[in-house]
């Protein structure tokens, strides 16, 4: 598969968009009454780089046949993706104000039938890498330059279906398939490595036949760009997996590195604290 052009984007823009993701996660959670802060903050730089620099998508043509496909195994962090899609013009920005309300198109998990720019629905943890395998197979069959990217969580590595998909991706030599694991160390019951150890992940993905790229800081924009760019644009006959080590709740000090803020809610006083930290933050 050929690689695709990388847009020339200033790092300051990526930094701004990562802030947008964090700010909007706080704002939408206030509409909703509860939200996944930790999971959304940990992926902010990754999602910003994908959507503003690396992925080929068209907001005015969301079903464009040759678009890169993005799926979220960690669908519960959709609250961090919706603001990006709105910002790019996939749907009106005021949809965000309906987040989680009766009959809204935007809920805790992404839904392809309702939201332009969402390539696949998720909710069942462990399903979407298989879906991405199918997308990558389909793209190859149709001679499309489309690549399939699946963002997963670290707890998701426990699901057996991940490894079924891993075998299929390698067996079919899908070098248009990219898995990204957001290793933020926070799940419902605490650090997934304490709940059910999945490490060593590098050796596992390599043994499964994937080009495995370890990203030691998924908030450092240069390092993250380099890892994602290599995974997407240096095809070598194997699917690629980026193991992104991140911090849950990154950007708001009292949330960082905690499982307690996997789900939560901020009252007005703490929203202001969070906004101030996000705005002042120099992440990346």
């Amino acid at each position: 598969m050929p690689s695709r052009a990388v847009r020339n984007v200033d790092r300051s823009l990526i930094r701004e968009k990562a802030k947008l993701i964090r700010r909007e996660t706080v704002r939408l959670t206030d509409i909703c009454g509860s939200g996944h802060y930790g999971s959304s903050f940990s992926m902010a730089e990754i999602v910003a780089l994908l959507y503003y620099q690396l992925l080929h998508v068209k907001a005015d043509e969301p079903r464009w046949a040759d678009r890169d496909r993005f799926t979220m195994g960690k669908g519960h962090a959709a609250i961090g993706l919706f603001p990006v899609l709105a910002d790019l013009g996939f749907f009106p920005a005021d949809w965000l104000d309906t987040y989680s309300r009766m009959g809204s198109f935007l809920g805790d998990h992404p839904e392809m039938k309702k939201v332009p720019g969402i390539d696949f629905s998720s909710g069942s943890i462990g399903h979407n890498l298989s879906v991405s395998v199918g997308m990558a197979l389909g793209a190859r069959l149709k001679g499309s330059p489309a690549r399939a990217v699946c963002l997963m969580g670290d707890g998701e590595m426990n699901e057996g279906q991940i490894w079924e998909a891993a075998q299929a991706g390698a067996h079919y030599g899908l070098d248009n398939l990219v898995g990204i694991v957001d290793i933020n160390g926070a799940g419902s019951d605490g650090d997934p490595q304490q709940t059910l150890r999945s490490e060593p992940l590098k050796e596992k993905w390599e043994a499964f036949g994937w080009n495995t790229i370890v990203l030691r800081d998924g908030h450092d924009i240069d390092l993250t760009f380099d890892a994602l760019n290599r995974a997407l644009n240096a095809p070598d006959g194997r699917p690629a997996c980026v193991l992104a080590y991140t911090v849950a709740g990154k950007g708001v000090s009292f949330m960082e590195g905690t499982w307690q803020w996997h789900l939560g809610f901020l009252g007005p006083k703490d929203i202001e604290r969070a906004y101030a930290e996000i705005d002042a933050g120099e992440i990346g």
Binding site: D30, I31, C32, G33, S34, G75, H76, P92, D94, W95, D97, T98, S100, R101, M102, G103, S104, F105, G107, D108, H109, E111, S121, S122, G123, S124, I125, G126, G155, E156, N158, E159, G160, G187, S188, D189, G190, P192, T195, L196, S198, F254, T258, W259, Q260, W261, H262, L263, G264, F265, L266, G267, P268, K269, D270, I271
Partner: protein, 358 residues
């Protein structure tokens, strides 16, 4: 009307904060990061989980273990905190198995534990247990007829705005078709404790369909949670509401609403879905119209089970089903969804009025 127009016409209330300093005082905050310098409305997972007071599985199993049931082992899939069995794990770490986010493996492992003479109790969200794991439940636990107890929490639309993927409205239909499986629905924390205490030694599989732990209290004391049993909670001569789960409380509310209109209804907690209390259905048919009420798809669900009895026994009465329509649910805050789908006192009362009009 576009999505945008719809919401401009009907803007949501911002910030559905339900937390207060008063409420926090009633919760164990030992592990919470939310200290006194936070806004009183802020909460983290520890605070939120403290509100799930009706999830009594962990507490009950600790009591049973303390009473000498050293064969009880608890299994979960990264949901020990949300389903409130973490306490059992802290007290009996050797008998607590967290399998991570890997539900099918957990179900198979529970079956294996049961073959070794242990009594596994699985505690997990119902969607991830009953729907993701249905085939493992069928082949590993029920075909083998092993004494595994399953507690599926957050059933129906309890997951609210998590979205349709996390709603669990098809579980009754799926599980009702699996031989050897007893299916029961405790409607509050007392019923859940009763269910476990009565049936923990039952030599075959049981699935308990529970809520998210914030249900209204129906029972003030524990009772014999009999397989094939039911509890008549109100008696009235005009019609009967046969309800399960959250709809038991809705049935009681409907009773009060209708009473002021001169309509008297019987309300029965049909906590045993399979096998059903057939005698209770016969009694209801003698009384008049029957309303079935459930937080599940009416196709293949609890109401369908009632319909089978009415048809097969030729009871010749009209059945009105209250429940989720045969369509994918919309997302929204749970309380709004209950109102939207008529799964509250007003909804059940309206169904009774319809049934009486014939």
């Amino acid at each position: 009307m576009s999505q945008s127009e719809k919401y401009r016409a009907n803007p949501p209330a911002p910030g559905m904060a339900y937390m207060s300093a008063e409420l926090k005082k009633t919760i164990d905050l030992a592990e919470s990061t939310v200290t006194d310098d936070f806004d009183e409305r802020s909460w983290d997972m520890v605070v939120s989980l403290g509100l799930s007071r009706q999830l009594t599985t962990g507490r009950t199993l600790i009591e049973l273990a303390e009473a000498g049931h050293d064969d009880i082992v608890v299994c979960t899939a990264d949901l020990g905190r949300p389903t409130q069995v973490i306490g059992f794990g802290q007290k009996y770490p050797d008998r607590y198995f967290n399998f991570g986010i890997a539900e099918r493996n957990m179900i198979g492992a529970a079956a294996g534990l049961a073959t070794m003479g242990l009594t596994p109790v699985i505690s997990n969200y119902s969607f991830f247990l009953a729907l993701m794991g249905v085939e493992n439940i069928r082949n590993d636990i029920c075909y083998t007829n092993l004494p595994v107890k399953m507690v599926g929490t957050h059933s129906g639309i309890a997951m609210g705005f998590y979205g349709t993927s996390h709603h669990c409205c098809e579980d009754i239909g799926a599980l009702r078709a699996i031989p050897n499986l007893t299916l029961m629905a405790p409607c509050d924390g007392t019923a859940l404790s009763s269910a476990l205490r009565t049936n923990v030694k039952h030599p075959a599989p049981i699935y308990f369909r529970a809520g998210r732990g914030r249900e209204a209290v129906v029972y003030d004391k524990e009772f014999d949670f009999r397989i094939g049993g039911s509890n008549t909670l109100r008696e009235g001569r005009h019609a009967t509401v046969l309800a399960i789960g959250n709809l038991v409380k809705a049935g009681l509310d409907a009773h009060d609403i209708l009473k002021s209109e001169g309509i008297e209804i019987t309300v029965v907690d049909m906590y045993s879905i399979r096998p059903l209390d057939v005698a209770a259905v016969r009694d209801a048919a003698k009384r008049g119209p029957i309303v079935s009420a459930e937080e599940a798809n009416i196709t293949g669900g609890f109401g369908a089970a009632i319909a089978e009895v009415i048809a097969e026994e030729g009871l010749g009465t009209r059945l009105t089903k209250v429940g989720m329509p045969d369509a994918y649910s919309v997302l929204g805050p749970p309380t709004h969804l209950y109102r939207h789908y008529g799964l509250d006192g007003e909804g059940v009362a309206a169904a009774v009025r319809r049934a009486l009009k014939g």
